[in-house]
């Protein structure tokens, strides 16, 4: 276990370092990326620009700038170039929004995906299986931001069944929190529900033909018990793994468009704005936050996998 933790931590450090260098480098070579020029406002004099350069340390060598940035990130002192707001504070403020969106959507796509996958495996080749396949393909093919925009416009703006975007904290009013999130959840879940149904269906059909399932039937347990305990339980192992990884991806930036469409003011939307402004500190911080989260989730997935499948447990 100790070796596992050490291995994970060192790989996490490597991932975070690589990501930070890449992001920092990209914003240094990007055309019109000079923050001093952008910060100086309209028609600045060379003198003003020079002053900003000196004040913010943009005249230092790149690696010094990088080191300064990382130090400030580590101490939590890093601020946006344009709003001067503390970046870490902004992320902490936006994180509950992003997690609310991701957790709800992940639960929906997992639960609905499992039910649909189960139905389509049990009824493989029949009408209900084909219908689910078609729906899954549509769900995967339709862009989430488009569906989100349509849903927001018609169900929110026109009909007023749902709020027209926005976010209410869970602590403030749980009902209104859920009410505001229903459309974003469904929109985000739409993409992955079909994928999960299809993946689970494949694993179920594989497991159904396994010898231990025939042996389980020979024991005289009911067909339903065979299906749930012996077929579904075993088929869920790879699906749960996938779920953890997808959840990491969604929190780590995969839901930016959905956040923006529904104006949820989450971390993703914050990052999207910062990218538009070529505002390096928030982009870097959010990227590292995402990468960190994905690495952590990966480690959790490995632990969950060992818990679900005794064959991969270390003795």
């Amino acid at each position: 276990m100790a070796a596992f933790v050490v291995r994970r931590l060192s790989s996490m450090a490597l991932v975070l370092f690589t990501v930070s260098v890449l992001v920092f480098a990209v914003f240094n070579v990007i055309p019109n990326g000079d923050p001093a020029v952008r910060m100086a406002g309209q028609a600045p004099s060379d003198f003003e620009i020079q002053a900003i350069r000196q004040e913010w340390g943009f005249d230092e060598p790149v690696w010094v700038q990088y080191a300064t940035m990382m130090r400030k990130l580590a101490t939590g002192d890093v601020v946006s170039y344009f709003t001067q707001a503390n970046v870490v504070d902004e992320i902490v403020r936006g994180a509950p929004h992003t997690f609310s969106l991701a957790i709800g959507a992940a639960l929906i796509w997992f639960a609905v995906g499992v039910v649909l996958g189960l139905v389509s495996a049990v009824r493989a080749g029949r009408a209900s299986d084909r219908l689910i396949t078609v729906l899954a393909v549509i769900g995967v093919s339709v862009p989430g931001f488009w569906v989100g925009a349509l849903a927001n416009h018609y169900l929110g703006f026109r009909l007023g069944i749902f709020p027209n975007g926005g976010y209410v904290p869970l602590t403030e009013n749980p009902l209104r929190w859920a009410y505001h999130l229903v459309l974003p959840w469904l929109t985000l879940a739409l993409l992955l529900t079909g994928v999960y149904a299809r993946v689970l269906r494949t694993h179920l059909l594989d497991t159904l033909s396994a010898s231990h399932v025939q042996a389980a039937r020979a024991k005289g347990i009911t067909g339903r018990q065979v299906l749930l305990r012996h077929v579904l339980r075993n088929s869920l192992i790879p699906v749960v793994t996938l779920w953890g990884l997808d959840f990491g991806v969604v929190v780590g930036g995969g839901a930016i468009l959905i956040e923006a469409v529904f104006d949820l003011e989450g971390v993703g939307q914050y990052a999207a704005q910062a990218i538009g402004d070529l505002d390096v500190p928030p982009v870097l911080a959010v990227t590292l936050f995402g990468a960190f989260f994905i690495v952590v989730v990966n480690a959790l997935v490995d632990i969950a996998y060992a818990w679900l499948d005794p064959r991969v447990r270390p003795r």
């Binding site: 396994a210 010898s211 231990h212 025939q214 042996a215 389980a216 039937r217 020979a218 024991k219 005289g220 347990i221 009911t222 067909g223 018990q225 305990r229 012996h230 339980r233 075993n234 192992i237 679900l308 499948d309 005794p310 064959r311 003795r315």
Partner: protein, 341 residues
């Protein structure tokens, strides 16, 4: 006289395949009495496993056609509903499969899998069932049974796993045990132990056993009676002595010839039956073994019925006197000579 424990009469099972209907079992009949071990012998694809699985309703797949009679005491196995079969499986007819590693679910503890079967048939609590599982594991000769009950299948050795599946099969004191190649995946020494265990169970608990195998060595070890299957049909049936010492069907000779024996001069290669088993979508119109049989002659163009020609039934047109001469190859029973150097 009370009916035999298991009676199978003219059983026919066919499946749909892309190449047409496959007649996997084609008119099989046999009986098994309590406390008796019947060995069903044949190559892969001869229909022996399908016969066994049909008895417990596990061949009821879309497109299957099952005809004939199969009864356990008075109970009609082929006509039973699925929920009735669930009551029979594991409780009255228990099954042991070839590969215990793949017959056990990898994600549950061995003891829990045994307990699951007990709880499927008896109204007992989880801890009682677990206690019984430990007891059963001890009974089939697993040392430190309590600890082993908490092991996952992959943590046990092959022999121990097969013992565990036998323990599971015994858990509800079945009347009939169907063992489908129970020793094929095991070392020879472990094989002997498992066979010994089966014979012991028969002696102590009076359990009847249908032992499915392709290995005549295994048959010689424990069987009371033998049925030899070829291409979906029984080609010869009799007591162990009859089939081993007075085999009537050339296919049986071939199987017997394949056993390597240390008390006979060595041949360079083990003699093998030439050719392959026939396709079951379009079996030969006459004797099904004729295309592979060096002794075939014109009458073989008509299918021989299973009839008693020399003490026990077989499906071969040759005269018994002729058979006695032809079945001796290189001083022992065989179909073809082993290749010489």
């Amino acid at each position: 006289m009370s009916p035999p424990l298991l009676r199978v009469e003219d059983l026919r099972v066919s499946f749909v395949s892309p190449h047409g209907r496959v007649q996997a079992v084609d008119g099989v009949s046999f009986e098994v009495a309590s406390g008796e071990i019947l060995a069903v012998v044949g190559e892969s694809g001869s229909g022996k496993s399908v016969t066994a699985l049909t008895l417990i309703g596990l061949t009821r797949v879309p497109g299957v056609r099952i005809e004939g009679v199969a009864t356990l005491r008075e109970l009609d196995l082929l006509g039973a509903r699925e929920d009735e079969l669930e009551q029979i499986r594991g409780r009255r007819i228990a099954t042991v499969f070839q590969d215990a590693l793949s017959a056990l679910n990898p994600v549950y503890r061995v003891g829990d899998q045994i307990a699951e079967q007990i709880r499927a048939h008896e109204d007992v609590g989880r801890s009682t069932a677990r206690g019984r599982a430990v007891e059963l594991l001890g009974r089939v000769g697993i040392p430190r049974a309590k600890e082993r009950a908490r092991a996952f299948p992959h943590e046990l050795s092959g022999g121990m796993r097969q013992r565990a599946t036998i323990a599971m099969a015994l858990s509800c004191e079945p009347e009939l045990l169907v063992a489908d190649e129970p020793t094929t995946a095991l070392d020879v020494t472990i094989q002997a132990q498992i066979l010994g265990l089966l014979a012991e169970l028969r002696d102590e608990a009076g359990i009847a056993v249908v032992l499915i195998t392709h290995d005549l060595g295994v048959v010689a070890e424990v069987a009371d009676r033998v049925a030899v299957m070829y291409a979906g049909q029984i080609v010869e049936a009799g007591s162990l002595e009859e089939v081993f010492y007075d085999p009537q069907h050339p296919y049986t000779w071939g199987l017997l010839g394949c056993i390597s024996r240390v008390d006979r001069p060595r041949t360079a290669n083990l003699p093998a039956i030439p050719g392959r088993p026939p396709s079951l979508t379009a079996p030969p119109s006459g004797c099904r073994f004729a295309p592979r049989c060096p002794h075939s002659f014109p009458p073989c163009a008509t299918p021989p019925p299973l009839a008693i020609r020399a003490g026990h039934p077989d499906r071969c047109w040759l005269e018994p006197t002729e058979k006695r001469l032809r079945r001796v190859v290189e001083g022992r029973i065989g179909l073809v000579a082993g290749a010489t150097r």
